[in-house]
Symmetry: C2
Subunit: 231 residues, 2 copies
Amino acid sequence: MTHTGRKPDEGERYRAILETAARLICERGYEGTSMQEIAAACRMTKAGLYHHIQNKEQLLFAIMNYGMDLFEEQVLSKVQDIADPVERLRACMRHNILLVTRGWSKEVIIILHEHATLTGEARAFIDARKKKYVDFLQEAFAQAAAQGRIRPVDPTIGAFSFLGMVLWIYKWFKPDGRLTDEQIADGMVDLLFPQVAAAGAEGQPGTSPLRVVRPTGTTGPDSSGTGTETP
Amino acid sequence: MTHTGRKPDEGERYRAILETAARLICERGYEGTSMQEIAAACRMTKAGLYHHIQNKEQLLFAIMNYGMDLFEEQVLSKVQDIADPVERLRACMRHNILLVTRGWSKEVIIILHEHATLTGEARAFIDARKKKYVDFLQEAFAQAAAQGRIRPVDPTIGAFSFLGMVLWIYKWFKPDGRLTDEQIADGMVDLLFPQVAAAGAEGQPGTSPLRVVRPTGTTGPDSSGTGTETP
């Protein structure tokens, strides 16, 4: 806007504050983190911080909305138009797992799911945004089950099983551990949504699902799943 | 021990303190709860509380150990001797879900899984107790997969998928909601461990698993699972 040099982008600055605050809150707890400490970590004065953020509850609300923005941009928008419900669920789980494991804003996402400190309208607003995702998952589970593509399961149980598997990864995943995040994504996707023969799956030949057909009466599932799905 | 009337059981008293403290910490956060408030909620003086508990970190450690005791008593001890790995996993998931949904010490279990505030030896001790459960699950997954009874899955991914599904239930289960905890248990158990035909499953006729055989080349899983497993 000005010609006096590159002005720091206001949005960038604001996101940096939210991410720094999220890291602090994850480390010390919401109650255990003061606005003074957040300002110091952002290399700002407390007054400077209050220029961007009204108060601590509003900060938490902003972090959660930012987390939902990230999620919608990096997961939902990438999969919501996939017509086939099982492929939609597989791609969605994969993107969500990678958001959890490699997102550079990991703490933002943790706060989104861990902290129930918001109250009143702010709480209701975030809950409504979360519910949209649950509804999306439930609809996909219901469609997949109606088409006989997955085991019959109550869509709510399906949706929250999906979310539990994905979001629990925060608790145990280590970037330098034995399993890569790709392996975890492949393993969980194949565990919950096995690639069975699909009747009339759409898509170009190159993107159609593997057609794994179970032989009658054998004791177990296929062992050919190599986990190479790349949505 | 004495004949002067029923003396309140020391163990009972101690457990009541842990449960009251757990409820407060769940409501207000660990940092946001003072020993003074915990004493008041227990109808004790602060000095009285310190008679039982050295300090706040020791209190958190005691709550977590108590949570592990409850878990081992109400879940692990009931299932660890089931020879069949799939039946062991099914029964284990069911008991663990019911511990989560109907345990009268729900907050103790939440703290066990949510709070990473412990440090040093206390942290290592609790982590080792938790790891025993993960190892138990991994071993059962590995056995079940080796027998071709479940889809081939890395045992670690299997174990943490199981834990995520079960422990995420805290976040969404409502005792007065549409789904009962029994329905959730049945649904999740059948979703992760479908009752497929088992080669040489042991057990009396009455307790053997349903033999559901998939027809070749159909598009989907069985639709006969009514979720009536009662371990």
